[in-house]
């Protein structure tokens, strides 16, 4: 989808501000929503990371830009929990109106059972590598052109690399296809390639001649360019 999340190549965002505060979480709630998302993903309460990314992409664009990184996580998680009927927005709203009437210092979470899990470093919950039933269409060095097909659904082909020519740099085997998986349409595994693009191909003839951009692109995004 042509969303606000697809930022590559946009102008106007100004200087990059390096962190003065190097701490991991800049507010208590940021750590909480991060961990909540990890748990909901690991116990499969939310479908998969593709659906999570797509929920974030569907945010109001102003909120996307102003809410911060963990604000985006909060929005994505809230959307998925609502859409899957686990925590409807109405329940959250109802509780919010109650919480805001009680001072933060005296609020406490209710009926919290004791948990005796191990606190290992979180491991990979999922591995998205899959066998693909057909051989790869492209070989290293092949000249390919990316698709110009635009839909309002999830994709991992950034706008700045649409309808551009590049070269196959590497083949990574088969992977779950986000464009299907984000929408509950199955894993539909596809071959994945790293494709290299020169600066002038992406940004026109005035581009820095000594830059190369590499993207990881799924086979359906690519067509072979006839020599």
């Amino acid at each position: 989808m042509d969303g606000i999340h697809d930022l590559g190549g946009m102008d106007g965002f100004g200087h990059i501000e390096e962190d003065e505060n190097n701490s991991l979480f800049h507010a208590y709630w940021e750590g909480r929503i991060f961990a909540i998302a990890e748990i909901l993903s690991n116990n499969h309460t939310i479908p998969n990371s593709d659906a999570f990314r797509h929920a974030i992409e569907r945010m109001d664009p102003v909120e996307y830009l102003t809410g911060g990184y963990y604000g985006r996580w909060l929005a994505g998680i809230s959307t998925l929990l609502n859409e899957h009927g686990i925590v409807p927005h109405s329940e959250t709203q109802h509780l919010l109106s109650r919480l805001s009437e009680i001072a933060p210092t005296v609020r406490s979470l209710t009926s919290d059972p004791v948990w005796s899990g191990i606190n290992d470093t979180p491991a990979d919950a999922t591995d998205c590598r899959r066998a693909v039933p057909h051989p790869p269409k492209f070989s290293l060095g092949d000249r390919v052109c990316t698709t110009n097909k635009v839909s309002s659904s999830h994709t991992r082909l950034p706008r700045y690399a649409r309808a551009k020519q590049g070269n196959i740099h590497k083949h990574h085997g088969g992977w779950v296809y986000p464009d299907s998986n984000a929408h509950g349409l199955g894993e539909n595994p596809q071959h994945l390639y790293t494709v290299s693009f020169t600066g002038d191909q992406l940004w026109g003839c005035d581009a820095d001649p000594s830059i190369v951009i590499y993207l990881d692109l799924y086979e359906p995004y690519l067509e072979k360019v006839k020599p």
């Binding site: 999340h5 930022l7 190549g9 946009m10 965002f13 100004g14 990059i16 390096e18 991991l24 979480f25 507010a27 208590y28 709630w29 750590g31 909480r32 929503i33 991060f34 961990a35 909540i36 748990i39 116990n43 990314r53 911060g68 990184y69 929990l81 686990i86 925590v87 959250t92 919480l99 805001s100 933060p104 210092t105 609020r107 979470l109 209710t110 009926s111 919290d112 948990w115 899990g117 606190n119 470093t121 491991a123 990979d124 999922t126 591995d127 998205c128 590598r129 991992r156 082909l157 950034p158 700045y160 990574h172 986000p178 790293t194 992406l202 820095d208 000594s210 951009i213 990881d216 692109l217």
Partner: protein, 198 residues
């Protein structure tokens, strides 16, 4: 850090946490454990260990460039967000830098959670279009003859930059070298310096 707050995002998070606990889907201790684990155990030292080992052991380095996951396993590094890890090597003629323009994909297992600037629109929009200028702003000035390779993490492959070993470090031990390797150098927006000569 003060815990509870009436900031709208804090309140909404607290409401979600409360409701999820009431529904028996998760509990406070699980959340505490994950926050603690990332704050205390997961960070760029894992990546720095890999870099330092590669600098002192050419066989390890060539194997690591072929298979980043193998190198992680050799050093006992586990963790999320590195199903497949590619190591890209800086040389005198090639400089690599990593981004995720679509969200903020980042190799958590080897670098911890990403810094704020990595997740902000300014970095994500500009680094693919004007990397030389952006790197200059980070204090990395590269000659015109240096090719800049920008890796946009648009799938589940994650990238780690193998920086150049600074000169004058021939006598340093692997563990001393690891301490010189910064997070920024492994994203590609920094250069490793020999702090002995700073």
């Amino acid at each position: 850090m003060s815990k509870k707050s009436d900031h709208p995002q804090a309140l909404r998070t607290e409401a979600l946490e409360t409701l999820l606990i009431q529904k028996g889907i998760l509990n406070t201790q699980q959340i505490d454990a994950i926050v603690k684990s990332y704050e205390e155990n997961v960070g760029p030292m894992a990546g720095a260990q890999m870099v330092a080992r590669a600098w002192v052991d050419p066989k390890f380095k060539s194997a690591m460039l072929k298979d980043g996951k193998w190198a992680m396993s050799q050093l006992g590094i586990k963790g999320a967000e590195a199903q497949h890890l590619e190591i890209v090597e800086n040389t005198a003629r090639i400089h690599n830098v990593v981004v995720c323009t679509l969200c903020s994909c980042y190799p958590w297992a080897v670098l911890g959670l990403p810094p704020n600037w990595y997740k902000q629109p300014a970095y994500r929009s500009r680094i693919v279009k004007e990397p030389r200028t952006v790197l200059g702003e980070f204090g990395v000035s590269l000659g015109e003859d240096v090719e800049i390779r920008v890796w946009d993490s648009s799938a589940e492959v994650r990238y780690l930059v193998l920086p150049q070993r600074p000169s004058g470090t021939e006598n340093l031990k692997e563990s001393e070298l690891a301490r010189l390797v910064s997070r920024d150098a492994m994203i590609g927006v920094g250069i490793v310096k020999n702090s002995q000569y700073r």
